[in-house]
């Protein structure tokens, strides 16, 4: 028996007797629960962090408009690299360093943001700050240093009381996060990156993506994080056709067109287009790229590859190359350098090419920072964040209901609209109301937990009670919305679209009946249920 046969025979012998229980029903039920939770929470999709790849027809109106950001047009112009003194090459250099960009400060470590929260590591891999796995620091989809010792971040599902997609900032020394920018109504907010303007003032770039008839339009904006001033950097129309991504570093924006290969074009936000030799090249689609913090250089690394190459944006020249461990699956730019994620480690790379090996960050992203001044004591925020709720003015028009039912409906709507958690909890305990198919022994804790994951159950309760109900005469109760009892009621689905949006409702309609948030009140006025899922 040769080696292949021995191995095959051994593997078959060690596994053929193994049987996994058929859990199809449980798997599908759990999958459905997750889908419904995600959709009803109006998840807008984990933001494509550095690049948003979408169909593009054209890039329009790239001239700045709106209040200008205070910037020094010369501050971030990439230096004339031909006259920059040569930097001694570290041992790991595989190609002679011919020129270097203006020296960036060395990174001090990485910020890791992911499903479990935010962790700040130093260059030796020691954990300096760990911002919990609950509350406002869990479920992170994007993170970056704010370049002033603080952290910018966005959630997959934004906790209450912030709007879904809001970018938050935990500023240096702060004990609670504050809002940087919320998506304009009807838009998705996609963080692009951070840069430095005049006198080191921090800039944050983002796209606000708004659906149109058969595509969408993304508006690129930069915010001065100190003054709050914004600068409109133009729009990108998305539709069927080629694709484009956006990256930013310093005052430079990189528009990445995705066709058979990737093409880069660079814009200085105050000076206009940059004539870069890199724009004449066609890069493999599997190559990851990231502009440096000052926009002067760009790193290239093939997905799963090992050759990290840094080139000058202005000259296209290769400044240095480094070998990184196998399996690289992410490349991020941050303050002072780049971070390469592999399954076994995170490699921190300075702008000059020095490297440090840190523990892996399998989920989420790792971004270099230079200065960090956030503490372990960062908490939930003010009262509104501690007890999340958006009061609502849902119109509770009179409905043709038996008086006990109508009275309970009015009471529920009033309590929900005023964010009276305790009043609702008391009523639920009194009526024995079903609030969850899981553990909801403490209604307030349950609703607050839901709120932290992006849903506002009280707002939803008020809005659902304003929809048209249906009656189950056999069971003796009324249900809001009617689609729960009568999935064929198109009017009810239309009402739900106004609450949850067409995409969410489209997903919910995949199931036999409406399984989103619903309310049941018995004929005698007993509040039977307020649940979602199945």
């Amino acid at each position: 028996m040769n080696t292949e046969e021995r191995i095959r025979s051994h593997l078959e012998a060690t596994t053929s007797h193994l049987v996994a229980e058929d859990r199809l029903e449980e798997v599908m039920a759990e999958g459905r629960r997750r889908q419904i939770r995600a959709r009803t929470a109006r998840v807008l999709g984990a933001a494509a962090v550095v690049a948003l790849f979408v169909g593009v027809l054209s890039v329009l109106d790239t001239q700045p408009s709106g209040p200008p950001v205070a910037t020094d047009p010369t501050a971030s112009v990439p230096p004339d690299t031909s006259s920059t003194p040569e930097t001694p090459a570290p041992d790991t250099t595989t190609e002679a360093t011919t020129t270097t960009p203006e020296a960036l400060p060395e990174p001090a470590g990485v910020i890791v943001g992911g499903p479990d929260g935010i962790t700040v590591l130093d260059r030796e891999g020691n954990t300096l700050v760990e911002l919990g796995d609950s509350g406002p620091y869990a479920g992170i989809s994007w993170v970056a240093p704010d370049r002033q010792g603080g952290i910018l971040f966005q959630h997959s599902t934004t906790p209450m009381p912030w709007e879904q997609g809001t970018v938050l900032r935990l500023a240096a020394g702060a004990t609670e996060p504050s809002q940087v920018v919320a998506p304009p109504p009807g838009s998705t907010l996609v963080p692009v990156g951070t840069g430095v303007g005049e006198a080191g003032r921090p800039l944050f770039y983002y796209l606000a993506d708004t659906p149109t008839g058969d595509g969408s339009v993304s508006r690129l904006t930069a915010i001065d994080l100190e003054s709050g001033e914004t600068r409109d950097l133009g729009t990108i129309e998305h539709g069927p056709g080629a694709s484009v991504g956006v990256d930013a570093g310093g005052l430079v924006i990189d528009l990445v067109r995705e066709g058979d290969c990737r093409e880069h074009s660079f814009q200085h936000i105050t000076e206009g287009p940059i004539d870069s030799p890199l724009s004449d090249e066609c890069f493999p689609r599997t190559t990851m790229t990231a502009l440096s913090a000052d926009g002067a250089t760009m790193a290239f690394l093939p997905f799963q590859g090992t050759e990290l190459v840094v080139r000058s944006v202005r000259t296209g020249e290769v400044l240095w190359q480094r070998q990184v461990p196998a399996g690289a699956f992410n490349l991020w730019s941050g303050e002072g350098g780049w971070a390469v994620q592999t399954p076994d480690q995170t490699v921190l790379v300075s702008a000059s090419g020095e490297t440090w090996s840190l523990p892996p960050a399998e989920e989420g992203m790792a971004v270099p920072y230079v200065t960090m001044d956030v503490g372990m004591d960062a908490g939930l925020g003010g009262d509104s964040a501690a007890l999340p709720c958006r009061t609502t003015d849902a119109d509770l028009a009179s409905q043709d209901l038996p008086e006990p039912v109508a009275a309970t409906r009015r009471q529920l709507a009033r309590l929900a609209a005023s964010c009276d958690y305790e009043g609702l909890a008391e009523l639920a305990r009194e009526h024995g109301t079903t609030l969850s198919f899981g553990d909801a022994s403490d209604p307030v804790d349950f609703w607050v937990a839901e709120g932290r994951q992006g849903e506002d159950p009280l707002e939803i309760l008020a809005r659902v009670l304003a929809t048209t109900p249906a009656q189950d005469t056999e069971a003796g109760y009324w249900a809001w919305p009617a689609a729960h009892l009568d999935p064929g009621d198109e009017g009810s689905w239309a009402e739900l679209e106004r609450i949850f949006g067409p995409e969410t409702v489209g997903d919910l309609r995949q199931y036999e009946g409406y399984l989103g948030w619903r309310v049941g009140i018995a004929d005698d006025g007993t509040w039977w249920f307020f649940v979602a899922g199945d």
Binding site: R6, T15, A20, D22, V27, M28, G31
Partner: protein, 165 residues
């Protein structure tokens, strides 16, 4: 969402049970062989199948959907072990070994000595019988890379096992 897309989505939802019935056991066995821990493999396979169902409209279009499920399960298991033990999987003795006594202890030892990534390649090729294309699609690596890595690993195993004889 258009009516057509609705119909397509519903069709795919109906196809998931078939996919599960065909691929659940093989993926579970491959995970058990890779991880060396039956209970962990069981949970990983369940979690991966749940995620596959959750994203079925997308996953069902993948060239190697079982490969995606296997990879998700493997990543989930590794992540969980790291959180629990802060030790690398390769350095950790399995809690629930797949088989005792082992049919071929030398092969078992040689496989356990491989880094997880390499053991994965061997399992996918010799237990799952996947082509290099399928392995590449499952692990997100080029076909040529899958082929050359597996070639190197097999040479290493051959050397170890034949020296042992």
């Amino acid at each position: 969402m258009t009516a057509l897309r609705h119909a397509t989505t519903r069709l795919r939802q109906r196809q998931f049970p078939d996919f599960y019935r065909v691929h659940h056991q093989p993926v579970f066995r491959a995970l058990a062989a890779t991880l060396g821990d039956v209970e962990l493999a069981r949970e990983a396979a369940d979690e991966a199948m749940t995620r596959a169902y959750q994203r079925w409209s997308t996953v069902s279009t993948y060239d190697n959907a079982p490969g995606w499920v296997y990879r998700v399960g493997l990543n989930w298991a590794r992540s969980r072990l790291r959180k629990q033990t802060r030790e690398y999987l390769d350095e950790r003795p399995p809690d629930n070994p797949v088989h005792q006594p082992l049919p071929d202890p030398d092969v078992e030892r040689a496989l356990r000595e491989l880094p997880l990534e390499e053991r994965t390649l061997v399992v996918l090729r010799h237990l799952m019988d996947w082509s290099y294309e399928e392995i590449g699609a499952a692990l997100g690596i080029p076909v040529g890379t899958a082929k050359s890595r597996l070639h190197r690993v097999m040479n290493e195993l051959r050397h170890k096992l034949e020296t042992k004889r």
